[in-house]
Amino acid sequence: MADWNFLGKLLESAQVHSTVVGKVWLTVLFIFRILVLGAAAEKVWGDEQSGFTCDTKQPGCQNVCYDKTFPISHTRFWVMQIIFVSTPTLIYLGHILHLVRMEEKENQKLKDLPIKNEKQQELISNKHKRTSVKDNQGHVRLQGALLRTYVFNIIFKTLFEVAFIVAQYFLYGFELKPMYTCDRWPCPNMVNCYISRPTEKTVFILFMLGVASVSLLLNLVEMYHLGFKKCHQGLRYRRSKMEREAPKALSEGVVPFVPNYTYFTGHSTMPEPFPADSKYSITEPNSAYSKVVYKQNRDNMAVERKGRSEGDDSEKTKTSNPVTEAPVENQRRNSQSSKYSNNKGRLDDLKI
């Protein structure tokens, strides 16, 4: 039973880098499978061959009939099941350790590099920060290649679990009968063979089947949970990215537009919608973007109206540079509200 310690230690280090459902799955594996297998099931199947009797005195008949009835013992079957079902998790753990080690090597390289060019180093460190595996608290972030590995891990776990349950059904069914008939050579006739403790074994077969189903269910829940959360994050990130790009595009549109500002203010007292729709035709129109643009326009018109009521002659006579600053400042002021939501979106992206 000491053999499980090795697997146990590996899986415990994988527990730190799993989701909540993953941790529950690992606990179920440890307590309801490994513990029960070692503490109970192995004793029940302990005397399976010595307690197997056939009603014949023919030497060898008992052996061959036991072999025919149980090609592989249930306990060994469950040991293989546990090992196969744990293997994807170990591969995922290996991937994490690999990434962490690569990052540490890069850190070491950065430290050893002489400062050739400050800018170059800044670039490298920026690139490194963006692709860092760990976040501020030192937890490993689940994204990119790591997320892919985790998803494959869950998929393979599910496949193995299903395969073993189906295989168990086709090998033995889910119930053990007290008596099996057998007429394999060298048995002289159809003999009756009786196994030991069929009821107790049936109880444990059903128990292990129940635990395997629970594990399977946990895997499915985790897949759904992960997929749902990542879709949600992706949508929010995309939305915040669009909101970030919209004011940027507007401010970009203002800068080249500035030389014409004095020309336009000379025209009418009516508040202009931001002219140069041609500027906006550069960027691709889509509904969310135009909504943001409309909101921006509205805000800017309100600011301009207020500014005009205070004294717009002074504004008109201003030179281009301060004029660029004013609308750009408006942009920045008006985008305060959207900036907060941007930050929120970005914070959430970092977690799983």
Partner: protein, 285 residues
């Protein structure tokens, strides 16, 4: 025996987040159940099938008679009992760990200067990791206690209906392929009876501890809640009554003084008429 290490590690972690009685319960579980099971009972039941003899030479008759008399061995029954009785505790541990993790993150965010200022304070845990059992956590704790009680009672009743509490040395058995009603003899009936009664008593003690803990928790919470309701501070909204107790504790007096000072700072004249005070407060400035 080493397999129980996993369960004991997990249960030890829960111990720090349990009440006193919960800790006693866990010690009883470890000492009187798991240890006795491994060190004593397993050797008593070690030869249960090999020494199960029936007075017949018919092959297979012993097997089926043993299977009929003992559908599940006592040892396995107790292993499952320990496992199922520990499971609610493990679920509570998961909840407690989750809460502690969330609060640690909250504490980190509050400590770091760049995070947005949150108004929430960590509610359940303190700096050292101790957890106060209240609110959601209390609900979870009570639920796991109730489940433990139900499961323990279920197993005790189940054991009674399966085997009774005394082992007799001889069982008559007439299942096929036994040719007639054979007599089957089990090994060590008296020793097994002693262990059965011992494990039964320990199970009843655990059940009793759970029930006591449940009542203790409910009692203390109810008392705390009613005490808070009785000691009300005199404010404009609930003026002092002539019959109520005046100043049962110094902290109540201090609280009342503080409120009075605040009220005086608000009102201009410092009138003792409650209604006028209220009007002034409500009219606003």
């Amino acid at each position: 025996m080493g397999d129980w290490g996993i369960l004991s590690t997990l249960l030890e972690r829960v111990q720090s987040h349990s009440t006193v009685i919960g800790k006693i319960w866990m010690s009883v579980l470890f000492l009187f159940r798991i240890m006795v099971l491994g060190a004593g009972a397993e050797s008593v039941w070690g030869d249960e099938q090999s020494d199960f003899i029936c007075n017949t030479q018919q092959p297979g008759c012993e097997n089926v008679c043993y299977d009929w008399v003992f559908p599940i061995s006592h040892i396995r029954f107790w292993v499952l009992q320990i496992l199922f009785v520990s499971t609610p505790t493990l679920v509570y541990l998961g909840h407690a760990m989750h809460v502690i993790q969330k609060e640690n993150k909250l504490r980190e965010q509050l400590a770091s200067p760049d995070g947005p200022p949150k108004l929430k304070q960590p509610k359940y845990s303190d700096e050292k990791g101790h957890v106060k059992i209240k609110g959601n956590l209390l609900g979870s704790y009570l639920t796991q206690l109730i489940f433990k009680i139900i499961i323990e009672a279920g197993f005790i009743v189940g054991q009674y209906y399966l085997y009774g509490f005394v082992m007799v040395p001889m069982f008559p058995c007439s299942k096929k392929p036994c040719p007639f009603t054979v007599e089957c003899y089990m090994s060590r009936p008296t020793e097994k009876t002693i262990f059965i009664i011992f494990m039964l008593v320990v199970a009843c003690v655990s059940l009793l501890l759970n029930i006591i803990e449940l009542f203790y928790l409910i009692g203390t919470r109810v008392k705390r809640g009613s005490r808070r309701r009785v000691q009300r501070v005199t404010t404009a909204e609930n003026p002092a009554s002539l019959s109520g107790p005046r100043w049962p504790t110094t902290e109540d007096a201090l609280r009342q003084n503080k409120m009075n000072m605040e009220m005086e700072n608000y009102s201009l004249g410092g009138s003792l008429d409650g209604a006028k005070e209220e009007k002034r407060l409500l009219s606003g400035h």
